[in-house]
């Protein structure tokens, strides 16, 4: 075997790192910081009903009173007085790509969103900075009663009661400081309702682009999958890189009714100046199934732990996630599950790759309540260290209060096995190809869960280039 070390390159972010200047003639931009006046102006701008305006102000008050999280990576360098809470193009949301302003349209074309819509999606939502700029749902899907729009439109088109019943009920503003902030300044996002028994065969996708420098994106996604219904929702996100901090503090609330199924796939590729403090939570009723597929590649600092509450008897959850931490990245990711109903089950499979000084942290919590009889949970996390200047940590917590629970956990941290490389080389592969194959295989359990075109996208993102340099 050759001496020296194979170099695995960082993820190539250049495809996502382009930008358009936002002029004050075309864009509305709120002042930096988070004050009562700003929150009132956002509420007025969006034409909120009174309950929502009051809710926003209560959330702001809570945000100002709450402490920063004490257990994760430091976010002290995030100066909240230098973040604009609201930026939007002056044009309204469109249902036709041709009507979208040219700079925004070009952005999404470069990202391949209109092409993906034509080829493989049932519906698309595209958010640019603080507002949805495009939303469309295929006619045949709309005919089944599926609703796919932004939250603001949903509130104005007969779904206000449904929104009010569910909005920030699963992720409450008291949950943590940035959930409270989200409640105060949220804007945009998606509202999906899938009626009873409707199975949407091809996925819906929302894409979030934060183009503005020094701004925050606070979209709210609410998906209600009614009894026996089935849908796959894909979320993508990216931003150009700036020298100042950007903030993403979205919320995703998912309601999976009796015997329904929801697959929620995310490919996150924020730029490396982004603080990604996103919160996702799902409530699963009897016999329902939640499937999370998550790829985290971007951001400077991430706090991201999709949480599932298995409330109904026989409900299930799977989480399959991969995190790639490169230079300047501290990605704190994982998942949480609460088993509340009887005969519930969860399977958590997490992978992480760390290199070039990147920090990858897998953090999870499994809570099995006393009433969750015969609950089953399996947690597996594997971390791959590609050099000795990086970090790979795992902090999995388990709190089990049901005596008949069956919980298994395993974690592994290590480098690429010399034995595996040797075996592949003995079958005729070069060392570089052998290592590339092993790293690709490491990520395979996640990529195989994605639709073909997204799996290809993820493999492009990883962009493992085995150059064979000697270290």
């Amino acid at each position: 075997m050759a001496n020296g070390k194979t170099i695995i390159n960082d993820i190539d972010h250049t495809r996502y790192d382009f930008r358009y200047a936002e002029s004050s003639e075309e864009y509305i931009r709120e002042d930096d910081g988070f004050t009562e006046d700003i929150v009132k102006r956002i509420s007025e701008e969006k034409g909120d009903p009174e309950w929502m305006r009051d809710f926003r102000l209560k959330c702001l008050d809570l945000y100002n009173k709450m402490d920063m999280p004490c257990w994760g990576p430091s976010i002290e360098e995030l100066d909240m007085n230098k973040i604009a809470s609201y930026v939007r193009h002056k044009s309204d949301m469109k249902n036709n790509w041709e009507d979208v302003p040219s700079d925004i349209k070009e952005t999404f074309e470069k990202l391949g969103i209109p092409q993906a819509e034509r080829l493989s999606l049932a519906g698309v939502g595209a958010q640019y900075d603080s507002e949805i700029v495009y939303h469309n749902l295929k006619e045949e899907v709309a005919k089944t009663g599926v609703v796919y729009t932004d939250i603001e439109t949903a509130m104005k088109t007969g779904y206000e009661d449904m929104v009010r019943e569910h909005f920030m009920k699963l992720i409450t503003p008291a949950d943590h400081k940035y959930a409270a902030l989200h409640g105060a300044v949220w804007s945009g996002g998606s509202f999906v309702y899938v009626p009873k028994g409707v199975k949407v065969d091809i996925p819906l996708q929302s894409y979030f682009r934060l183009n503005a420098s020094g701004a925050g994106q606070f979209e709210h996604t609410m998906i209600i999958v009614d009894e026996g219904a089935d849908v796959h929702f894909i979320e993508g996100c990216s931003a150009p890189k700036y020298n100042v901090a950007n903030l993403h503090a979205g919320c995703v609330e998912l309601f999976v009714r009796k015997n329904a199924r929801l697959r929620y796939s995310t490919i996150e590729n924020w730029s490396k100046n982004m603080f990604n403090l996103n919160t996702k939570r799902a409530l699963i009723e009897e016999g329902g199934k939640m499937e999370w597929v998550s790829g985290s590649f971007g951001s400077h600092i991430s706090y991201l732990y999709p949480m599932t509450i298995l409330k109904g008897n026989g409900s299930k959850m799977t989480y399959t996630g991969i995190t790639f931490s490169g230079e300047g990245q501290d990605l704190d990711t994982g998942c949480k599950v609460v088993h509340s109903g009887a005969d519930t089950s969860s399977v958590i499979t997490a992978k992480s790759i760390s290199k070039s000084g990147g920090i990858g942290m897998f953090r999870s919590s499994v809570v099995i309540e006393k009433k969750a009889r015969n609950a089953k949970c399996s947690v597996s996390c594997d971390s791959l260290m590609l050099d000795s200047i990086s970090r790979a940590d795992t902090v999995p917590a388990m709190d089990i209060r049901a005596y008949d629970a069956d919980v298994g956990h395993e974690a592994k941290i290590g480098r690429i096995s010399d034995e595996a490389v040797f075996y592949l080389m003995s079958r005729g592969m070069s060392e570089e190809d052998a290592k590339a194959l092993i790293v690709s295989g490491f990520a395979d359990s996640v990529s195989k869960e994605l639709p073909m075109e997204y799996a290809v996208e993820m493999n492009n993102l990883i962009k493992i280039e085995m150059s064979g340099h000697k270290a």
Partner: protein
């Protein structure tokens, strides 16, 4: 002086809402009397000294407790096997430093018992000199009304080997903390703990192995049984520091839950700042599998007998390592009492 201390804190924190990062415990250091603890050591090769030992670790709340407690102090250097009876006759604290001489192999069996009061505190620093080997069996059978804090720290020099076997049966609330520094190349640390908790006993464990030098090995295992409304929190941390090339560490846990009101919490952590290492963790938590019960039923055991048989077998590995017949018999009797 009564104070609140955050003991058994984890080196890396989990979500604050889980309340697993450490435990707040009230200690009245004013009630501690150094004359209330008696240490009887039998065995040869013991040299006592007043040497000051400083372990290179940040100060913890446990250190603060012992500073305030003004404990009985012992510094010993061992060259031969020893047996230690540590008996608390009232509320007390003891602080010890035990050195194992270079290239010596030493077996130590230690029984901690008694109390007759609320608080029993023990802090021990072990220094394993180059090439030394220490097998330490620690059995804790304190009165069930006792709050017990056991703070173990160890430094392992080059080629040294530390094996700790511990069985915890007594006390009402136990805080078992150990922090082992694998400081010398090829140093090896093996720990195996067993517990059997019933009533409302609580066991709070915080085991940390810092891999500092290359080619160091650690293997930590904690197994136990929870009955009635007993609860246990296991924190285990493997910390691979940058530069510990070739290090291998594993931590494992098997917990059997036998009653509806038990609580089991686990926080197995791996921290890794070095590429060339292998770190593993495995945990299995639940009731005794139906397959095993069924198998034993086919061999004539009813469910209760089968359960007791399995629990006894879990302790056999540890108990069989106790060479002192009297201690072994006493321990077996106590296990049987719980199983009644």
């Amino acid at each position: 002086m009564k104070g609140s201390f955050n003991v058994n804190t984890s080196p890396s924190l989990t979500f604050a809402k889980l309340n697993m990062n450490g435990d707040n415990v009230g200690i009245d250091t004013g009630k501690l009397n150094r004359d209330n603890v008696r240490q009887v050591i039998t065995g040869g090769g013991i040299t006592e000294s007043d040497e000051r030992i400083v372990i290179p670790l940040p100060k913890t709340d446990e250190d603060r407790i012992f500073e305030l407690a003004e404990p009985a102090e012992k510094v010993m250097r061992l060259t031969e096997d020893a047996s230690i009876i540590l008996e608390f006759c009232g509320e007390s604290a003891i602080q010890r430093v035990i050195r194992v001489a270079s290239k010596k192999t030493v077996n130590v069996i230690e029984v901690t018992k008694g109390c007759g009061g609320d608080q029993a505190l023990c802090s021990t620093r072990y220094i394993l000199e180059e090439g030394s080997r220490l097998k330490l069996i620690r059995i804790q059978i304190l009165d069930k009304g006792t709050l017990y804090i056991d703070d173990l720290k160890a430094v392992l020099e080059k080629d040294s080997y530390l094996e700790v076997v511990r069985i915890d049966l007594g006390s009402h609330r136990s805080y078992i903390g150990s922090h082992v520094l694998l400081d010398g190349k090829n140093a090896e640390y093996k720990a195996h703990g067993d517990y059997l908790l019933n009533g409302d006993q609580r066991l709070d464990i915080n085991m940390i192995a810092d891999h500092i030098a290359p080619d160091t090995v650690s293997d930590m295992r904690y197994d136990g049984v929870l009955i009635d409304s007993a609860s246990k929190l296991f924190r285990g941390t493997l910390d691979f520091k940058s530069g510990c090339k070739g290090a291998k560490g594993s931590e494992n846990e098997e917990v059997i839950l036998l009653s509806e009101d038990v609580i089991n919490q686990s926080l197995p952590i791996i921290l890794c700042g070095e590429e060339d290492v292998e770190g593993n963790h495995g945990a299995s938590v639940g009731k005794i599998s139906d397959e095993i019960i069924y198998y034993l039923a086919t061999r004539g055991f009813d469910e209760e007998s089968a359960t007791k048989l399995i629990i006894r077998s879990k302790f056999n590995t540890a108990v069989s390592q106790i060479y002192d017949e009297k201690i072994r018999g006493d321990l077996t009797r106590r296990i049987e009492e719980v199983l009644k």
